[in-house]
Every structure is written in structure tokens, then in C-alpha cells.
Amino acid sequence: MRKLRILHLYPDRMNIYGDMGNIICLQKRMDWFGLKHEYITNTVSEKLSGKFDLIFMGGGQDRGQIAVGSDLQTKQAIIKDHINSGVPALTICGGYQLFGKYFLTKDSGKIEGISVFDVVTKATELRMIGNIVCVSDEFGTIVGFENHSGATQLGDSAQPLAKVIKGYGNDGKSGFEGVIYKNAIGSYLHGPLLPKNPSLADFLIGTAARNIDKQFILKNIDDSVAMLANSYAQKLPQ
């Protein structure tokens, strides 16, 4: 199989919560699965062209988000083409918000998103911080840490990623966490998300690989430490 091309959007500006951990996890697991991969970064005022097999974007500070938001508009078409053709993507926190319709900030007005997800986010006075546990039929129990004051509401067509068992999730009220559209995921869980939730990592990797070779099967790898860490995190206080 050819090399899987991982696109990391704005790694220099959207990187504050251990976001590289998700990239480290994807790359290492691809190594273990015997998949070759290439890591491509793209940031503000760089041209984005070509085809990618997996897209990642992390969370950043509000300041970072304004410049990123306007730059992302210029890349909207190519990113949406990818997502609509089934390319897997993971967006965390600020990345999740900007893949939605808009983010209404407290001090900097409205930052337009690129509407991959049918969600809107509004700044609140409540800082939603703490350990979070949620559950999904497809991915099992997902654990992580959240730290956001933006509250995200799902539109009519949006599917949540998971149900919150402990923690705030999208807005602290709806009981939902994250969003999934086609193979693109948005989530507030950093921590980072993938190492302790290998089912999510393998969904992204497996989808990327099967977009190239329909028959591709991920072989079993030893995730015993990850699963222990996952079970341990389920018991942590919020």
C-alpha cells in the first residue's frame, strides 16, 4: 500500500493540550500495523493542495484561533472535499469549534467556521474543566480531560460522538460529547484523546487504510497498558 498522508493543520498555533500526543499515537500505531506514513503540516498563509488520507487539528488559545479561523476559510473547499469523500479526520477543542459553523467569542466577536459539522459554539462564563468519561456504541468507553469555556450545540443533522457519563461534554447540559459526521470526529477531549482510546485511533487509521485498499484489516496489537489506563481513568473524580 502507498504511504498514508497525515495532514496536521496549524500545529504551531493549535497545540496547547498535548495535541502532538494524538499524532505520536497515529504514527506509532501505523508503524505497528505495517502502514507507511508521511506527516504533512500546514499553517497560516501556507498554500494547501494535494490529497490527504487523514486530517488532524488540535486546540489553541483564543488569540491563535482568530488568525486560524480566517486562514481556514481559504482552505474550506479542499477540506470539505476530503471529508465528504470519506477521509477520516479528528478535530479537538478549538479545531472542533472551527470545523463547526461559528464560534461566538467573549471578546473577539464571531469567528466563522467552515461548517463541516452542523454545530455552533458560544463562549460562556463557565470553564468546563476536569476528567470526563463518555460512552458510544461504536467506540466503547472514551476517557479524557476537558478544559473549555465554549459551549457547543448540535444542529438537527448532527450526530453526537458519545454520551457523557461523567463530566461536561459539549455544553454541560445536553449530555452529549463531540460530533461525528461521515468519518470526521470533533471532540473536547484532549489528554490526549487517542493513546488511551485505541478504538478511536484505529477507526481513523482503519478508515484511512480501507479508503485505499478495501480489504485491509488491522492486525491485533497489544493494547493492555492503554486499556488499563482507560479503566483507571474511568474511576477518576471529575
Binding site: D12, R13, N15, I16, Y17, G18, M20, G21, I24, C25, K28, T43, V44, S45, Q61, D62, R63, G64, I66, A67, R127, I129, G130, N131, F145, N147, H190, G191, P192, P195, K196, V225, A226, L228, A229, Y232, L236
Partner: protein, 461 residues
């Protein structure tokens, strides 16, 4: 009246906690602050005729404060210092009250206080300092402090209300450097920095950079040289924002060993050859504010030179402890930059000695351990071993090691005492490197002390 009641109450608590031998360093100040919320301001206005020095920033503030204390002491300037503990406003109050009479007067000419970033605005407003040192600003316990930009903005606001203060700022940290720009009024700025590009060997997996944009325009910074994290020599494409030229400037790193560092420092008036009795080149940043202090308090630079050449080994949040013949080198780790500095300075060579990683997630450690993924674990994964894991988040660390490609032996000991025992067995009278988070350091340190206490020999059986 309120003031006297507050001071009296604090003194009572203080002597009570002495009798009980508890280490409640902030409790008297906390109580006094509750009785009189303006107490710090009142204490500031009647004390410290020569002025107040505040030291803040993410990393290095304890070391920097200790260095400045030595400089003042050797310069024969009396001062009050909060070295015994808390760097919150109540800790500052406690330390003043310890030295004060019932009317709140101390004999000290200077107040020297380490201040937590979150409390700087409050403490600065109350004490109107003569000098504020900002060492650096890195991501640290985002669950507690919030984002860096908001901290920097709070600093900017706080500085607007100061008069005739000198800001002593790290020129090599873009966010800190920006605090000295576009200032209004009577504030002065002294920058310190390192201009010798050979001072730091770059790490391969350094993900700890936080502030890589111009804080004013949002333009991306270009680094001609990056030391660690976002510390280095930088400018924007249009040069609208660049590293300011330091008035206290390390022009050359002459020598750096496991015991000491030799540098050339150019100040506005002279070129000095400086010996620093510390290891770890990042500590250079923690001694440079000493020259600013000398300038502001009219202390001769020869006194600074003598002080730096004779710093005690307990500096630098680095501690060498011992059980029998085994040396335990403790390096506090609390954020990616601090962790990476330890890796950069102390684990670059193949040490192949036991390493204890003790990661807790108590409030004082930061409850979010995602920062472990921003540390350059890959850079030392092949250089150490075996690794002994302990702490509440040992599993997170184990997972991080696996993903970093560490192939050596991992021993997990839930119990910290067992972790030390295991390390003792493996070290064979040699050396053990210990990297603990804050609360893990406290417990390991007291366990090591306990092991050396004759009366508790059976403890280790």
C-alpha cells in the same frame, strides 16, 4: 484597628502552628487577610524603604528569588523574603508578619517575594514594587492558570497601574519580552538574554513551544535560533516585532560542566567574566536578574560575581539526596519545558542508571497530565533504564514511554517507598535519577529523610 487585629490573629496562629510543628506557612497570612483585606497594601506602605522586588514566571522563579536573596544578603541589605513557602498573597503577608512587630513594622529595607503568576496583579497593586522580574511564561497547569495569553494580558493591565517600576524581562521569551513594549508612563525596562547560539543543544522532539506568534499582530515568529520551547532568537517577517537587545547579555558560553557554568556577561557598563556554581544551562536565565538587582540597589557587581560563584548546591530545584551510598538526584518536573530542560541538561549522555518517574495528578501537580505528551521523552528513551514508575498517573507515564519507543524494563510500584527500595536495589550504590511532580517530590523527599533517620531503620527492612 483592623490591621492590628489581623496582625495579632496571625501571630497567634503562627505560634500555635509552631507548637504543633505543622508547616502551615500561609495560614497566618490567610487569616490576617480575611480580617483585613487591605493588609498587604498597609504593610507595604509602612515597610521596605528601599523598595520591593517581585519575581514571577512559570519556571525558575524559586531559583531566581534565592539568587537575588543571596545578592542582597552579601550586599548587606536587610530584606524580608517568602522563601519558607507559599507564593500566594497570603504567603507574602505571612512572611512579612513573621518579621513584624504588632504594629506591622519590620526592620527590613527591602521586600523580596516570589509571586505566583495568578497573584502577581494583586500583589503588585498592593506593594507598588521597585522591580518586577518575569522569568518566562510557559503552559503550566492550564486547568489552574488558564491560557498564557490571558495571564500576559493580566500582567499588562497590572503594569499600567505601577509607577517608576523597573520591569526585568527575559528578552528570549517573546511573550515576556512583549510585556516591556508599548508601555506608558514611568515604567522602565531591563532585558536579559543569551546571545550565544551554542548555549543549548536542540531536542529532537520538543513540542513545548507556546508563544510562537507576535503577541501584537498575530504574525508567525521566525526563529534564527531556538533554544528550547519558544525561548530563542526571533523576529517576524516584517521585523515589526523582534527580540529586544538585552541590556544584560550573555555574549559567550565559555564552559558548562555538571558542577558549574562559565559565561561572559555584557551589561550596559561592563563586560564581566562570570562563574555560576549551578549546572544546567537553563539556570543562566535564573541568575541574570542578579545584575539588574545590583544596578537598582547600587550593589557592586563584584558582590554579584562572588555570590554567583558560591551558590549552594540546593539551588535550581535540584536536589541530591542520599541513602547509604546511593545518590538520588531529584529534579522537580511540572510542565513540558521544565521536563525538557532536565532531559536537555542531564540525560543527554547515556546514563543507563535507574530512573524513577513519579507522576501525581493532585491539584498542586495539575490534574491534567496531557502535558506528558509534549515532553521530549523520545530524546531519552534509549538513554536510561530501567524505569521505575510510581504516582497516581503511573499508567499514563507507562503509555507515554511505550509510544516514545522505550524498550527497556519498566517496574511499576504503586507505593512510593517500594519505588525507592527497588531503585536502591538496582542502583548498586551508584546514582538514581528521580523526576517527580510537585506532590510526589514532597513524599519522596520525606521518605528519603525517613530512611536516613536512625530511629526508623526497621522502616526499610
Amino acid at each position: 484597628m483592623k490591621k492590628t487585629a489581623a496582625i495579632l490573629a496571625a501571630k497567634v496562629v503562627k505560634s500555635a502552628s509552631r507548637i504543633k510543628k505543622t508547616a502551615a506557612t500561609a495560614a497566618p497570612g490567610y487569616l490576617a487577610e480575611r480580617i483585613d483585606p487591605n493588609l498587604l497594601k498597609k504593610l507595604g506602605s509602612i515597610n521596605f524603604p528601599d523598595g520591593v522586588v517581585l519575581v514571577t514566571g512559570t519556571n525558575g522563579k524559586t531559583t531566581t528569588t534565592k539568587v537575588l536573596a543571596d545578592v542582597l544578603r552579601n550586599g548587606d541589605i536587610s530584606f524580608v523574603n517568602n522563601r519558607a513557602g507559599s507564593n500566594l498573597s497570603r504567603g507574602v503577608i505571612s512572611s512579612i508578619l513573621t518579621e513584624a512587630n504588632l504594629r506591622g513594622f519590620t526592620q527590613a529595607r527591602v521586600g523580596l517575594f516570589e509571586v505566583d503568576e495568578a497573584y502577581l496583579p494583586e500583589v503588585a497593586a498592593a506593594l507598588q514594587p521597585k522591580m518586577v522580574v518575569v522569568t518566562n511564561l510557559f503552559r503550566d497547569q492550564l486547568d489552574r492558570y488558564g491560557e498564557l495569553d490571558s495571564i500576559a494580558n493580566k500582567f499588562r493591565q497590572a503594569f499600567k497601574n505601577l509607577h517608576s517600576t523597573t520591569l526585568v524581562l527575559n528578552a528570549d521569551d517573546p511573550l515576556v519580552a512583549s510585556l516591556g513594549m508599548k508601555l506608558s508612563g514611568s515604567l522602565k525596562v531591563l532585558y536579559f538574554g543569551i546571545s550565544d547560539k551554542s548555549a543549548f543543544r536542540a531536542l529532537q522532539h520538543d513540542n513545548s513551544a507556546d508563544s510562537i506568534v507576535d503577541p501584537f499582530s498575530g504574525d508567525t515568529l521566525r526563529y534564527t535560533h531556538r533554544y528550547f520551547g519558544h525561548i530563542g532568537l526571533y523576529t517576524t517577517k516584517s521585523h515589526s516585532f523582534s527580540r529586544p537587545k538585552p541590556q544584560i547579555n550573555v555574549t559567550k558560553l565559555i564552559k558548562s560542566s555538571e558542577k558549574s557554568i562559565k559565561i561572559n556577561v555584557k551589561t550596559t557598563t561592563e563586560l564581566l567574566s562570570v562563574s555560576v556554581n549551578l549546572s544546567g544551562n537553563y539556570n543562566i536565565y535564573n541568575v541574570l536578574p542578579a545584575f539588574a538587582t545590583a544596578q537598582l540597589f547600587r550593589i557592586n557587581n563584584t558582590i554579584v560575581l562572588q555570590t554567583l560563584a558560591n551558590l549552594s548546591a540546593a539551588f535550581g530545584r535540584t536536589e541530591a539526596m542520599q541513602i547509604d551510598k546511593t545518590i538520588f538526584d531529584l529534579y522537580l518536573i511540572k510542565n513540558p519545558t521544565g521536563f525538557n530542560q532536565v532531559i536537555q541538561s542531564f540525560i543527554q549522555k547515556d546514563s543507563k542508571c535507574p530512573l524513577i518517574l513519579a507522576i501525581n495528578d493532585n491539584i498542586a501537580d495539575g490534574r491534567d497530565v496531557s502535558w506528558l505528551w509534549d515532553c521530549a521523552i523520545e530524546d531519552f528513551a534509549s538513554r536510561v533504564g530501567p524505569v521505575i514508575l510510581t504516582g497516581t498517573r503511573a499508567l499514563d507515564m507507562q503509555l507515554r514511554l511505550i509510544y516514545a519507543g522505550y524498550k527497556g524494563k519498566i517496574i511499576t510500584e504503586t507505593n512510593a517507598k517500594n519505588a525507592l527500595k527497588t531503585a536502591l536495589g538496582l542502583a548498586k550504590n551508584n546514582r538514581v535519577i528521580v523526576l517527580p511532580t510537585y506532590t510526589a517530590m514532597l513524599s519522596l523527599r520525606s521518605l528519603i529523610n525517613e530512611a536516613n533517620d536512625e530511629t526508623s531503620k526497621e522502616f526499610w527492612q
